[in-house]
Amino acid sequence: MSTHSLHFFDRVDTALHDETLRTALNRATARFVGNRSGAIGALSDADTLRDQARAIRAHALSRLDELLVRLAERVEARGGRVCWASDGEEARRYIAELARSRGVRSIVKSKSMASEEIHLNEALERAGVEVVETDLGEYIIQIAGETPSHIIAPAIHKTREQISALFEQHLGMPPTTEVPPMIRAARQALRQRFLRADMGISGVNFGIADEGAVVIVENEGNARLTTSVPRIHVAIMGIERIVERLEDLGVMLQVLARSATGQKLSVYTSIISGPARPGEADGPEEFHLVLLDNGRSQILGGQYAEALMCIRCGACLNACPVYQSIGGHAYGGVYSGPIGAILTPLLQPDLPDNYLLPYASSLCGACQEVCPVRIAIPDLLLRLRADAVRAGKFHPIEKPAIQSYAAMMNNPALYRVGGKFARLGTRLLRRKGRIRRLPPPLHLWTRGRDFPALPAQTFSEWWEERERQRHNG
């Protein structure tokens, strides 16, 4: 079932009516939120650690040109190759050409949001290469023909019964609803994929400029296998995902693991610098680093630069009551939740209803509260809304409505008269002191909520009357 061809409101509607999805979302986000707050709460000084994380990310962005050059030079000095890709097309072409020239038939992939962003799998499959996602959640949605619905837990929208059916069909697993046999079946099937693969493709959590290294964080071990077993390792990194020094990890890995899953550290952190050296027993013989720009170099100069500090922990998704209600697919892009409502319009600008995403927020601020690098997500959403309005992207009724609101608020006489009419109107509609139905467009309010009947006298009228009486009395 793909909901991506639908309009945003239809996707929301589909999600809100999907009981299975809502149960799964409630369970997963509540667990993540609890784990995170436990892990952050246990720190002696979490606020300082987050301030440090933000400062480290800001520092890296402030020297991004210089750090990328350093990273690339050091990767090359260690025998790796670097591809600077302006957009998804260049990245896809480089990797597809690499696969072709090396005679690659089978690729294993570990989690990479950047590769999702540029739809890499489709391109490689078109080139006749078999691509297998190896993160369990990613694998499940790959065989289901879907896309991730959460940065950290891509398959949270699936039930164990659905997963079991997929494994029966694709792995020949005997029917079960127990989790351990499903895990064993997936381990066995995927292990053979690793051993036979010619190339492994991974994402990158952090590049380290000084070391010419990339850092990959995970819990399953699939990224370790992806980067160690096949002959060729290709790492895809959004150009903003960089820090300057190895020591910066002492802050970044701690806030990442705690914010993402509530762990002190993720199970595996691999720091990889180039291909296997001569004398090493194992490891890839070729290492390629794809530095993906795809709009980031220009975002850095604008009013959304702060979004580039994001370390993709997913904490803002879990904390967001909108995400909790509709899940990831409703957002329509690769990145979902509050940060996705910012990143998707910036990184996937061609999606038609992008301009609606920044409105998919009540601006409650729960996202900013949990962000490990303190991105002012509500402020950025408000700027995107202003951009949408400037571009003329809004419902036709909004402009006259807002303009009459502003005219009333700017003119006390009009404000008084307008208010009087509104109050009179609502008094005609009231039943037992409340209104059950308002005329359009306010019927959207009374669809699910009553509205109070407006009082006969405003506060200002009361106050003026009282002041008069005081001065006369």
Binding site: Y415, G448, Q469
Partner: protein, 251 residues
């Protein structure tokens, strides 16, 4: 009737929603402040902070409304609002709205003397017992903007703890958004309703008589949901509780 004489004087900005929909909240605020010996001034013609247009993305319209509000509040001393959201607009978002504009300076100056009601009572006046009484169970919902952009919540709880005869009961997920969000409640009505559904569920789970919050807008959302479901639980603004005016209006 004599004007209360006190060392303090504040400018009261009741906000457009209180002015038009809930004058009792404004009256309650007056009552509470005057009882503390605070002299109140209400500038003529004060209407709205401009948040509705700002949140909708209509910055030009917001700029006009908010700019006028800055003018009206110029030189008016401490400003108190019975709303965390509108106070947050002035304290937090005016900086964004007026960046690089002639109002940048005046906006910062205004932000520094703007307070949400419970914050003003507890942090500035140092009062936590305002002589309120309510016989029943009370639960407090942290309205988002006050909580996250002003750090308000502790003050309201301190004040409610001193309401005589009241049993203050914890509200599960008290800091989760009710789904109001200004125009969000209309533009994304389905998501807004889903969020409200969860809030109503938590309010019922609290086994309470009165749901109290610091913003009339969130109160409207929660009250609208409770009323539509025929719930006996009422929703009130904290000022109404503190001024013993819980029964001053119907529904």
């Amino acid at each position: 009737m004599s004007t209360p004489v006190g060392p303090r004087r504040v400018t009261l900005f009741v906000t457009c929603i209180v002015d038009q929909l809930y004058p009792e909240i404004g009256k309650a605020t007056v009552e509470i402040l005057e009882r503390q010996g605070v002299a109140i001034h209400v500038p003529r013609g004060l209407t709205c902070c401009g948040q509705m247009a700002f949140n909708g993305g209509f910055r030009d319209e917001s700029y006009a409304v908010a700019g006028r509000t800055i003018e009206l509040l110029r030189g008016q001393g401490d400003v108190v609002l019975p709303s965390g959201s509108c106070a947050a607009m002035i304290r937090h978002l005016y900086a964004e709205l007026f960046a690089h504009s002639p109002y940048a300076g005046p906006a910062a100056e205004l932000a520094a003397r703007t307070y949400e009601l419970t914050e003003y009572l507890v942090d500035v006046l140092g009062v936590t017992d305002v002589g309120a009484r309510f016989r029943g169970r009370i639960s407090y919902h942290d309205a988002c903007h006050g909580l996250r952009f002003l750090g308000v919540g502790r003050q309201a709880r301190a004040l409610l703890a001193n309401v005589q005869e009241a049993e203050v009961r914890p509200l599960p997920n008290c800091d989760t958004c009710c789904g109001f969000g200004g125009l969000f409640a209309i533009k994304q009505y389905a998501i807004s309703e889903a969020m409200l559904e969860r809030k109503i569920h938590d309010v019922h789970a609290a086994e309470t008589d009165l749901l109290v919050t610091g913003d009339a807008s969130c109160m409207t959302q929660i009250a609208g949901g409770l009323s539509r479901r025929g719930s006996p639980i009422r929703a009130r603004h904290i000022a109404e509780v503190l001024a013993n005016m819980v029964d001053a209006r119907p529904v």
